[in-house]
């Protein structure tokens, strides 16, 4: 009707709409959505812009208020952040921990999420609520007893200590459970009639349809584990087990923050997450959901 703002073909044609956008660009006007999205996008990235300009400033330039643009580009800040510390080791540790947690979550949350969504077993509802309940006490309160458990397992100051508590999270279980619930039950019924077991239903029938939520879980798990500060802080005690977030604290002390180097280090530490997101959101593209309908 008159308010539709996308100049895609007038009627949906399966097959045509899989064609990438640029191929059809000749027939497109720039979308009016840019008027909304561009200012929104700008507002959202202001802190990132500040981080970027700070990372290429000199220390003296960052000590002015209000902040301004640097006069020259100080790439040396990135070098300093990398060299002044075992930055490479920290990145490696963070990567190992985050990737392990992502894998653990993808596997275990899928299993548990499906079980809680579709499989009837006694106590499911209660157990699920209990799992959720563990989210309801702030970490500052439970971190000491968690540390005691790690100590009893003889895992203090090790990478497994960083992985184990996050290997599977109630967040992941809950998220996937909801997505499993939104899939039509009819999909499973056919498989059940064919005599397939629950595991097979999960892996063959349902998981292939769970691309977007699994990608989302990957990105968010990676992000949360990668950015965790407090737990790695108290469980590691030597530079070779530290993660990037704890390591970044090296550029900050009580009275002095080396902002340019800190921001350079922070930006470097956020690159993996952003890359993961970009890679993941490409996977999100679903042609039919975004076609114009008259």
């Amino acid at each position: 009707m008159t308010t539709h703002i996308e100049t895609t073909p007038q009627h949906v044609q399966p097959g045509v709409d899989d064609v990438p956008a640029f191929r059809r660009s000749r027939r497109r006007r720039p979308s009016a959505w840019h008027l909304v999205l561009a200012p929104l996008g700008l507002v959202l990235i202001v802190p990132l812009l500040w981080m970027a300009t700070t990372s290429i400033s000199t220390l003296a330039e960052t000590r002015r208020f209000p902040p301004g643009l640097p006069h020259s580009v100080q790439w040396v800040n990135f070098l300093t952040a990398w060299r002044q510390s075992p930055f490479g080791t920290w990145l490696l540790n963070s990567t190992i921990v985050s990737v392990s947690c992502v894998v653990g979550n993808l596997v275990l949350c899928s299993l548990a999420g499906y079980a809680f969504a579709r499989v009837r077993f006694t106590g499911a509802r209660v157990v699920f609520i209990v799992l959720l309940a563990t989210l309801m006490v702030p970490f500052q309160v439970v971190m000491i007893p968690t540390l005691l458990i790690i100590k009893d397992l003889h895992l203090v100051n090790s990478l497994p200590a960083l992985i184990a508590p996050n290997l599977v999270t109630p967040f992941g279980v809950y998220l996937l459970r909801q997505f499993f619930l939104s899939l039509p039950p009819e999909l499973e019924e056919a498989a059940i009639i064919d005599g397939a077991g629950r595991l097979r239903i999960l892996t063959r029938v349902l998981l292939p349809l769970m691309g977007p939520p699994l990608t989302t879980l990957t990105v968010l798990t990676f992000l949360n584990v990668w950015n965790d500060f407090l737990w790695p802080l108290i469980v590691t005690s030597s530079p070779h087990t530290m993660t990037v977030q704890v390591g970044l604290a090296t550029f900050q002390s009580a009275h002095f923050t080396n902002w340019p180097v800190l921001m350079a280090g922070t930006l470097m530490s956020q690159v993996p997450v952003l890359l993961l997101f970009v890679a993941g959101q490409r996977y999100f593209v679903s042609s039919i959901a975004s076609t114009g309908i008259k």
């Binding site: 202001v46 500052q140 997505f179 999960l202 977007p212 309908i293």
Partner: protein, 312 residues
């Protein structure tokens, strides 16, 4: 114009056909699949939870053996005016944060769920605040909202409006934190909703298109109802996080000015790590826990009730 496919029965547990043996198989399968998660979360989530519960009945300064306090921590809480102020402020914060973020995320996800040129850039931009460190966010918002030198006040002055105190105002501090956290969480909600929108089965949309549905109609009648489990999740998740707000308060106002932005977890943190009243902090945590549990159960029950109503 109705969209024939829009009415769906709410998701329900699938009863395996095959009678008792199949039900037995389900019991085993269910427990087998859920056990690893239950084990890990039980060990690292439940055990500390119970330990902290015991701590709430003790006096401890973390260094020496705790002494038994019985109910005195809880009794002291009832007389603590700062605690109750933090409760009110936390609730106010939650009531503002959750709906704004939920609806905002939905709208932004809808806006991003299209194939215009550069959509990847916009999606990335929306995600950036999620990735931006809280420290950097605090610094930026502190600067933007600085009463003397901030951009926002100079814009207000140019428009002839009075300058505001923002983080330094007892009336405005909490609302500034709402704004800051909505900004930070929008990307998270959008990501979840985008995943949900992208998961809508294609057949439904095709059917809607064939029925002659407009895009906007299809959005509200087909896609949004499909998002209900996801929305329910987001409401619960956002609520749990809102009630446990801490980081943003810590990097901006430190609960001030004059406790105006003190929220429950911040107060808990002060009690534990500044005043060394570990048992008292645990008691605060447990009152909070009960509140969050009650609210969550309420929200879960409500969504199930709504689902059932819709089905009838």
């Amino acid at each position: 114009m109705t969209v024939a496919v829009a009415h769906r029965r709410p998701p329900r547990r699938v009863l395996p056909s095959g009678g008792r043996r199949a039900r037995r198989a389900d019991q085993l399968a269910g427990w087998a699949m859920a056990s690893p998660a239950v084990f890990f979360i039980g060990l690292f989530g439940l055990v500390p939870l119970v330990w902290s519960f015991v701590l709430s009945f003790q006096h401890s300064n973390f260094q020496t053996s705790p002494t038994w306090a019985g109910l005195s921590n809880y009794r002291a809480l009832t007389h603590d005016p700062v605690f109750w102020q933090s409760v009110r402020q936390t609730l106010l914060y939650t009531v503002l944060f959750v709906p704004i973020t939920l609806i905002g995320s939905l709208l932004v996800a809808a806006a991003l769920n299209r194939k215009i040129r550069g959509i990847t850039v916009y999606r990335l931009a929306v995600f950036v605040p999620v990735v931006t460190s809280t420290v950097a966010t605090g610094v930026i918002f502190g600067w933007l909202l600085d009463p003397n030198y901030g951009v926002v006040n100079s814009l207000l002055e140019k428009a002839g409006l009075p300058a505001q105190g923002f983080f330094t105002s007892t009336r405005e501090a909490l609302f500034c934190i709402v704004g800051m956290t909505v900004w930070g969480w929008l990307g998270f909600g959008t990501l979840i909703f985008l995943a949900g929108l992208q998961s809508v089965p294609k057949e439904l949309l095709e059917a809607a298109a064939i029925d002659g549905c407009t895009r906007r109609r299809a959005f509200w009648s087909v896609q949004v109802p499909q998002l209900r489990p996801v929305s329910a999740f987001l409401v619960v998740w956002l609520t749990i996080n809102a009630l446990q707000l801490f980081d943003e308060v810590y990097v901006t106002t430190k609960g001030g000015p004059l406790h105006a932005s003190t929220v429950v977890v911040y107060y808990l943190y002060q009690q534990a790590f500044q005043f060394f009243h570990a048992g008292y902090a645990a008691a605060i945590a447990y009152v909070l826990f009960v509140a969050i549990l009650a609210l969550t159960l309420g929200e879960l029950w409500l969504t199930r009730r709504l689902d059932r109503d819709r089905a009838s």
